[in-house]
Amino acid sequence: MVGSKMAATASIRERQTVALKRMLNFNVPHVKNSTGEPVWKVLIYDRFGQDIISPLLSVKELRDMGITLHLLLHSDRDPIPDVPAVYFVMPTEENIDRMCQDLRNQLYESYYLNFISAISRSKLEDIANAALSASAVTQVAKVFDQYLNFITLEDDMFVLCNQNKELVSYRAINRPDITDTEMEVVMDTIVDSLFCFFVTLGAVPIVRCPRGTAAEMVAVKLDKKLRENLRDARNSLFTGDTLGAGQLSFQRPLLVLVDRNVDLATPLHHTWTYQALVHDVLDFHLNRVNLEESAGVENSPAGARPKRKNKKSYDLTPVDKFWQKHKGSPFPEVAESVQQELESYRAQEGEVKRLKSVMGLEGEDEGAISMLSDNTAKLTSAVSSLPELLEKKRLIDLHTNVATAVLEHIKARKLDVYFEYEEKIMSKTTLDKSLLDIIADPDAGTPEDKMRLFLIYYISTQQAPSEADLEQYKKALTDAGCNLNPLQYIKQWKAFAKMASTPASYGNTTTKPMGLLSRVMNTGSQFVMEGVKNLVLKQQNLPVTRILDNLMEMKSNPETDDYRYFDPKMLRGNDSSVPRNKNPFQEAIVFVVGGGNYIEYQNLVDYVKAKQGKHVLYGCSELFNAAQFIKQLSQLGQK
């Protein structure tokens, strides 16, 4: 199998892509053959399958694999004779019913059923029943459990689900009125996805989690599930080729399960790196950003039709080299890089155009056959480099549009001011402007921004502000138009958190606004950055990163010392708080139960860059930006 030959640190995205391609190739490993005969097939998926496939394979790649049509399971589908159909669905009741219906209607010639997570025996019998009644048993060619129930967004980042986000959201887990059965359901969903993740990764991790949180419940269940699977020697998913890849690294990865409650300030934080900004400010999910473009900003004369706003959506994929390089850089750097790319593109374009005139001149010189050969060679090389140039232009356009949209938001809401201020709050340096001033300032940001700022302040102060101050703040906030429900919830949370442990500190950081000179230098750039301070990010470690650091390097720290320790491979099932393994880990997976965001991801990526040879994956049960998180908090605060 291809998996065992890959390096042990093959990214999760590659693994999932390889698994998907193999599935599409009728579960035979895919070999690229330039003179192979075309085989065609039809792909049927449900919404879960769609979410999993869309960040990984583009429509063109699907075509390359021979897929002529890709359809949703629950849409109207016409019978297409003589075509094998590949199904990629979750084994839920409705999906199974629909598949049985398809079998009865004999829509396709042969059926390759692939279930995203394991299907239960009874449902399998339902399908068998339907196949029998439709006399289509021989048509069902293969049935597979794919164990791919998670969505990979980046090389080292994954999310559990997108469709049923509400089921496993922060709100669902932390609701005061949640019943045990509901909690069980939520935990089972999370554990199922994590299990699929480890099956695809091909390694059995060592699990650490804090006590007394939802993360602990997840850890217990996951440990149990892994243990059961390992004991079942006949059907174990971790033997054979899959384990080969894990054993090559001689070490097992570390799974750190943390709960969102350990750090509530980071999701509310205003950010300054490109990817996190796009997620915060624009409509961005599953690597696709939707922009609303207005056709023009000039005043339309009276009586003319109002300009239509076009909606454009762009895919930000790993193929996009600019995105890969700059998704973690601070925004001004991104603006400059776009300028540079644009200039280099123009230079190349100029060269190609010059070639045309050069050719025109030399064509008059007859009889010089050798020169002609050089010309044809030059022409061929120019023509073959044209697609690259076009692609580059498209990417530059894309990023120009996206960055302009982000910049507009920044200017409208003065996000740079917020960012600076919050950094100062979180690092407990002195504040030059009082909080009340910013809240009362009418044109600095939406009410949501102000709420975020205040919540961060509230969360990160050591002692709660006095009643009078609090009243003042509340009045200022309501004047600015904010909804105070999140505050209720945070108060409760803070009281609870104080009982449990000391609040997390955020480390030191300083931000240096770049001086007037650099601002003047930047006015040459197309993006008018006046009024937007160039803030330089200093390295700081968010709480999650610090926890990871402690656990990976086996440092002793009061925060992490009493984390529980699970090793599914150990024979005796009790947990000991003493980790058996004394060496630092090389590979780690951080999973946040309750939701995560790009800021933490970026922080982890920066941390890993500083350390050589370590490999960290980031996962969360759902991905939300600050706006969605505030909504959840306010719903919680209302109850």
Binding site: M1, G3, A19, R22, M23, N27, S34, T35, E37, P38, W40, V42, R63, G66, T68, L69, L71, R77, D78, I80, P81, D82, V83, Q106, N114, A118, I119, R121, L124, E125, I127, A128, N129, A131, L132, S133, A134, S135, V137, T138, V140, A141, K142, V143, F144, D145, Q146, Y147, V199, G202, N235, L237, D241, T242, I369, S373, T376, L379, T380, V383
Partner: protein, 334 residues
């Protein structure tokens, strides 16, 4: 990784069958079921379209196998130095080229035919899409196989051209040797081909043949009728003619190579131009619409100006009338 539960599925099928038998439920399983299955399978329309598509694919597959089989011999060329077994004469190569071309033409015609027929009698959008995609795949396959062929061809032509270029360096030293006595010429030139294994046979053969002929001729007639100067003159003229012929031949070969390259470029260009055609059509439509709009706009503006002017005239007239009437009333009253 993925777990194959097909066996589990088959086992469940058996369980369900036995369960149904036990419950006495006739679900179409049992002995009638298998017969039903047979019956149901045969009248299923095999799909005219897909069987024809598969035929085309098998044809292209045959072409591909044919090309691959003879590829080694085709490229591995020219040298009489190599063993006799793998040699292919140019005539055979031309034959292969021709056959391949005819084959490709028939295949592309078949694909075109399929394309026109695919959309008849089909009402479902999905089936149409599916068939278009299938035809695209087949065309792509054909293109890939043709690429094999054109690569081979390009290599062959390139080799010939390169050989020409190498052999072009030879004429100067050779002309010097021709000055010497004619008997010396033939043994010299017959050695040359063996010294340069990369040199082509063609130009060498006529050269050596001509020179041997010259030698024999010179031997036969020399002392009787022609004086040494005349012999020399004839020799030089012959050399000149041979040189001219050779250079013409070289040029023709080179041009052939260039033309192959140019044809490839042409293909790329035509592709791009065709792509642009649709865009240009739409731009044309837009432009036509825009000119219409502008014309209408001009008309409207003209009207507006006229109305404006007319309006002004009326106002003036009204004022003048008012003042006259005032004067009149004033005169009438006094």
């Amino acid at each position: 990784m993925a777990v194959d539960i097909t066996l589990l599925f088959r086992a469940s099928v058996k369980t369900v069958k036995t369960r149904n038998k036990a419950l006495g439920v006739a679900v179409g399983g049992g002995p009638e079921g298998s017969r039903d299955e047979l019956f149901r399978r045969s009248p299923r329309p095999k799909g005219d379209f897909s069987s024809r598509a598969r035929e085309v694919i098998s044809h292209i597959g045959k072409l591909r196998d044919f090309l691959l089989e003879h590829r080694k011999d085709y490229i591995n060329a020219y040298s009489h130095v190599m063993s006799e077994y793998g040699r292919m004469t140019d005539a055979e190569r031309d034959q292969i080229d021709q056959d391949a071309q005819i084959f490709m033409r028939t295949c592309s015609e078949a694909i075109q035919q399929l394309r026109t027929e695919a959309h008849k009698d089909i009402h479902s959008q999905q089936v149409k899409e599916h068939r278009t995609a299938v035809l695209d795949f087949i065309e792509d396959y054909l293109k890939r196989v043709c690429k094999l062929y054109s690569e081979q061809r390009a290599i062959r032509v390139k080799r010939v051209v390169d050989k020409k270029r190498l052999s072009k360096l030879e004429p100067e030293p050779k002309t010097k040797t021709k000055e010497s006595a004619s008997e010396k010429v033939s043994p010299n030139t017959s050695q040359d081909p063996e010294e340069k294994p990369a040199a082509a046979e063609f130009p060498e053969k006529p050269l050596s043949e001509a020179q041997t002929e010259l030698g024999t001729w010179g031997d036969g007639k020399g002392e009787d009728e022609l004086s040494p100067e005349e012999i020399q003159m004839f020799e030089q003229e012959n050399q000149r003619l041979i040189g001219e012929m050779n250079s013409l031949f070289d040029e023709v070969r080179q041009i052939e190579g260039k033309v192959v390259e140019i044809s490839r470029l042409q293909e790329i260009f035509t592709e791009k131009v065709l792509q642009q055609e649709t865009e240009i059509d739409s731009i044309h439509q837009l432009v036509v619409g825009a000119t219409e709009n502008i014309k209408e706009g001009n008309e409207d503006i003209r009207e507006a100006i006229k109305n404006n002017a007319g309006f002004r005239v009326w106002i003036l007239f009204f004022l003048v009338m008012c003042s006259f009437s005032l004067l009149f009333l004033d005169w009438y009253d006094s």
